[in-house]
Symmetry: D2
């Protein structure tokens, strides 16, 4: 009954198999090998983006920070949701990498309101040296609030960004869950909706520690490579990052895993909602659930070995993953029902 | 016949096995899991340093840069060899991470001369704001020149650093080869000789992409953790970095691999030295060899599929690894003899 | 009728005289001269702080940024008001200098609410690497909203900061006006109320471009000096910064000027408040006034040569200075009354 | 007998007069005033560069650092002489501002050898992420060694820079002395010889603390303005920086002062060269002189009140300024002759 985070799950078999498969002989380092080239192609195909520049890095924080630093100037404002991961959980790394400043855009349940974004951008004055200059917009899908930006909602944000000439980045730490939840294709949920750069998360979906950064416009690709190197994020044995993605995507396993995780959250939601005294926040769209539980229930669950985080005393965040079982969900529900 | 670098080799079986072994169930993220704790203990035991703070990161560049940034102030000078990896191959990352400046110390074949180090430190003026302040010393063992700092030579550098109150860092990207070449223990070649922080390289010795940073004095451990996080280098699934080290060290395989690599280089050296027109630089102590080859020989070798870097037209750098075979060495020698 | 800002006024005669007075012969550079030592003493005496470290710099932005960078760690959160100068008007410089992050504290009319500050600090988790760590608190007095923190209000903020072990910085770009408005002494309004570091503004009070940074605890003085140097802010001919302060403070002229500026604002407020259709924001405590004016009045005033900034179409910010005359105020009032 | 540095001299009367002249009434801040516009024009005219972007800052360090940061990328190598001010006397500021790395070019007496510069640039590999990328070249004229780059020598350096597509910056802290020594015009010694950006020093030539940065190609002017602001170097009362330049340049006083300073150094050189046991380095071209003096002579001079720096025990650096008198020179010579 582990619901603390999807980053605590092990790796699915196809990922381990892919690692073994590339563990043969010598391979040129720093991405100049056939395995890496193949994985890049797999991702280009998945996103229907044959020209995209694709890079593998090892953490979500650096995927976000390098992406933003590449497209926003040193004096740039990066507009993000008030509770975005870049704002709350990256220890100031976005400011360090970009040189600029995060400016916060409100919105319910982790989603920026397009009108609020427009207002925030307008408040900065391009051409006036006293304030940072509009630099980029970043949205998270699935959001920290467990909600989804649909294709239309993504497009609405992109329209505001484009109206101000700003690039749009997507923090897709849980992009697989967003694709599964939306029913859209990766392309529809990104470049077709106006997204320019994606941090395509693998770790929370089952990889050991691998994220792909995708620039649909490869113009600044070499700048990204220099930034990756000088932040210590260029792997020599890139094949082992690339292989994880290849194994995970081939055959559509990445999406199967995400669908499973989302289904487990739905199962939890459905079961918990029936319990008196328990309130399930209705906005959950994917694999993150917020549930108000009586204090006694919290205690009982934890005693029984359930692992999850609380906000305050009684507001539980439950996160499911590819490795969550129906049995765990049902047991959790049963314990909460007692 | 792959002699371009030891970072192009695959991973030995025990590393793959260790990854499989930890790929079970959920584990708390960010290093708070039993696997990581166990690997930390393995390294503490190996270095006879039960109090040491030990961290796992994924690249040698970041191991060096985070180490130096933690112990040298923003305005600090880091003294290194003229051709050190931090100076020549990290794209300015040490300056970015530390905030300071590298100052170069000459010395033959990649080894700093203690007297030259002393002179360089004295040239900076502590307490005078116009110049950077002495911050730290870093040496590389095995050096970029393929040479070894013996225990005594390490101690000589440490004595100079200590006389000026400076911490001593060791870039140990090929520390395994240094231990193998010196016959000393890890402790003797580090803290017993005055080294304060080690970048203990795993990648070049056979890991997928894993380095350990060891602070023998754990005083600044939390600062290191914050710096690791804000540079995007904190893995959530730390167990997969830790396991690589555990599998590699348990049973002494790490040292067996290094001894093998060193032996392959010695085999090459011995065979090549006998060939007329070929000159083997005599300083090689481990798994890096510099060899002057006739241009025709270079062409013949490359045609036959040998992979190696040249400096100028005829000065080859040959690097062996755990995966280098006797057959490859002998074939290379045979081709060079034709 | 120049009410755009107090930084557009010329220098009063005693400042020019002081510059002439020190313009004699050679003087050791970089602050090692008798003139600078004397001005340091003048400020120590003014603040009843004989042990304070006092430095002269040329802009308010750098006074704030160097102060905060010296006391808040690289990963530090600096808590400031939502509309503080450091947040809105320094183009991201505080993040660049400190390495950290500004976190915003609400409060009416430019003043942080102590309870809101406490809540904001508590929201950061010391010891958790995912978020920036509480680093420092900065308040502005006179605030950007034209309001005053009284001694008691300053103390209330300081109490919160101290409860969390955080240093308290005062952005005193208009500190002279605050002293004049409060009736307190400089010591009462700073260290006696719990302030640790002051950016003591001279420029807006009549100097050419000179600010003093005061550390009541001189422990980190040398760090400040290094930071000043490496940001290009160490003047060689420091005597010319120091002399401005000396001339301005000796004889109490600095406070006379501030009292005059405050009186001019009060005169404006009184006159404008009587006009139908004009609303004077009642919180103004010193030399900044916010006034709602009919659009026609704005047009008439500007046509007649009045210079001032608008927020929106009709909300004027009027700033008075030592050089503002009664005539200008009365003429402005008369024009607004037509 | 003050020969420690030209930055210890007072300001000449025309500078004080110019300050008084602009100290009238209100003036729009941040450079948007008529005084500043006028001084910009004066400098454009002086350099025969009507399109140049001209900015006023307060220290030489920041003039250099902002110039280089504007034209060299974050991952750029800035090539400079081994003993350049940016390398030895700016506490690492150039690395902080540019984000890059200084790479050192040897050459006798402070002048880079063109061939050595070419070699240093070639050693960096454009397009290879492991090393910093060629970013800019900076030369100093008058050099730290007291020597001059003639127009032809400047052109030789520029030719190398241009061949590699690199911008050329001139650290002209003593540019006035270089113009005086060379007999060339400012234009001939800068853009006509291939210089792209100049730090035109005023402070060492008699100003209180004012330097002008000149971009002959104004393309990156706004970037410079943003960098100036976010490093805390944008003055509100810019008129007082601008006026100093205007007063100093109008009527050619700046050059008269430089000629005087150079003549005083020549007078010293001539007198000292005649003394037995004293050796005057023959390369001196302007207002810096290196003189080997017997230890007893050093002691006698200092006892008599002469102020100068020594390198080692007996190698004196003597710097003259606009304020150095013939009497001081002759007295120094006389004391050295005893």
């Amino acid at each position: 009954m582990f619901f603390a985070s999807d980053n605590a799950a092990p790796c699915p078999p196809e990922v381990m198999a892919a690692l073994s498969a590339v563990n043969q002989g010598f391979a040129m380092p720093y991405g100049n090998d056939a395995h890496t080239a193949r994985a890049v192609d797999v991702i280009r195909t998945l996103f229907e983006a044959p020209e995209a520049a694709v890079y593998f890095v090892s953490t979500g924080t650096v995927a976000n920070c390098l992406s933003l630093a590449t497209v926003s100037p040193l004096w740039g404002a990066v507009f993000c949701h008030t509770n975005a991961h870049v704002q709350e959980d990256e220890c100031g790394a976005p400011e360090v990498f970009t040189g600029g400043k995060l400016l916060l855009v409100p919105g319910a349940h982790g989603r920026m309101e397009p009108a609020a974004l427009d207002k925030a951008i307008r408040a900065q004055k391009p051409g006036v040296v006293h304030s940072v200059q509009p630099g980029a917009v970043t949205l998270t899908n699935i959001t920290e609030g467990g909600t989804l930006y649909s294709v239309a909602e993504t497009r609405a944000i992109a329209d505001v960004a484009k109206a101000h000439g700003l690039p749009l980045h997507l923090d897709g730490a849980r992009f697989a869950n967003a694709v599964a939840a939306s029913g859209a294709t990766p392309a529809e949920l990104t470049w077709k909706a106006g997204v320019d750069i994606v941090s395509f998360g693998g770790t929370k979906g089952g990889l050991m520690g691998a994220e792909a950064v995708i620039f649909f416009n490869p113009e600044k690709a070499f700048e990204f490579e220099l930034r990756r190197k000088r932040s210590g994020h260029l792997f020599s044995k890139t094949r082992y990052l690339a292989a994880q993605f290849e194994g995970w995507i081939e055959g559509g396993r990445w999406l199967d895993h995400a669908r499973h995780a989302n289904a487990m959250a739905a199962r939890l939601a459905e079961g918990l909602a029936k319990i008196e005294g328990v309130t399930v926040a209705p906005e959950a769209a994917a694999n993150i659930l917020f549930v108000k539980l009586p204090a006694a229930t919290v205690g009982r669950l934890r005693e029984a070995g359930a692992v999850f985080y609380l906000r305050g005393d009684d507001y539980a965040r439950l996160v499911t993953s590819w490795a969550t079982t129906e049995e765990d969900c049902d047991r959790f529900i049963a314990l909460a029902s007692e």
